[in-house]
């Protein structure tokens, strides 16, 4: 782990935005190398397709998620997965939140 007592300002700005934190949280449920379909992610997050696309692009730019386009038979499908880097960032973010909540419990 990094700094045992991170300050609010040190929280990862990429996933500090509420919407992107929701996206990354949702993707963190997937097992490594599993990809979720875009429509399902949209439905689970209750976001519009446009809104979700915007946030995914920002997460892609940070290399936190990987978006791939493929085909299910003839229908095109867009699949999303959390990268190793994204998972690490998410784990660090949640650890930082816990540390902020219980600073005295930190070793």
């Amino acid at each position: 782990m990094t700094d045992p007592k991170p300050m609010v300002t040190e929280l990862d700005p990429v996933i500090h935005a509420q919407a992107r934190l929701r996206v990354v949280s949702a993707l963190s449920v997937l097992r490594e190398d599993d990809r979720i379909t875009f429509p399902q992610l949209q439905e689970s997050l209750r976001m519009t397709a446009g809104n979700l696309s915007v946030h995914l692009r920002k997460l892609e730019d940070a290399q936190y998620v990987e978006v791939t386009k493929t085909h299910h038979g003839r229908t095109p499908a867009t699949l999303v997965r959390l990268t190793r880097r994204g998972r690490l960032a998410f784990d660090e973010y949640t650890a930082a939140l816990r540390a902020l909540l219980n600073p005295q419990e930190e070793p």
Binding site: S25, R35, L97
Partner: protein, 210 residues
Amino acid sequence: MTPIDDDAPPLDPAESLALIERERAQVGRDLSPDPRLMYWPWGIAWLVTFTLFFLRYGPDGRVFVDLPGWLPLVALAVCMIAAGIVTGVAGSRVSRRVMGPSNRQGAMYGISWSVAFTAFSVLFSQISDVLPEDKAGLLWAGGMVAVTGALHMAGAAIWNDRDMFILGSWTSLINIVGILAGPGWHSLIVAVAGGGGMMAAGLIGWLRQR
């Protein structure tokens, strides 16, 4: 549909953690089939058909209800096929939402069930002719319930699912007790404790998901 604004103010840490847990729970629910659809059809199938077996082929050759001899077996076949369709559809609808190693795991697990049941069916059909009717029935029922219990335990190992392991262990245990108690009693025990176990598993899984 709560529109989430990009510029929504950051939450405080407790709210953020709650948000994370909410989203994770939501996606977890969306990506796993409804436990009621996965267990209840089998629970009902076992309850109904093994009760029919008990009533028609009771302990020591007793006939509690004079049903046609073919009825329990036909009911078993129909209920198993119906349960297989319900769980198959419910499972595949969910598995289509994700692509990756999980799909392969699920497919391999599903194939294991088919292979195990096929192998035992072939074996038992070779042997059951030489057994008295009640022992042959016990061989079929005891063997199939044993496979079910063991595969639930193996599935629990794949998905690290403690409840599923308990169900598999319970099914295996009551099966052994039933086999030792003998033909007739085995049917009653599997109907009540086995079918009941599946019903309970569906209910507990559903309550945990909510």
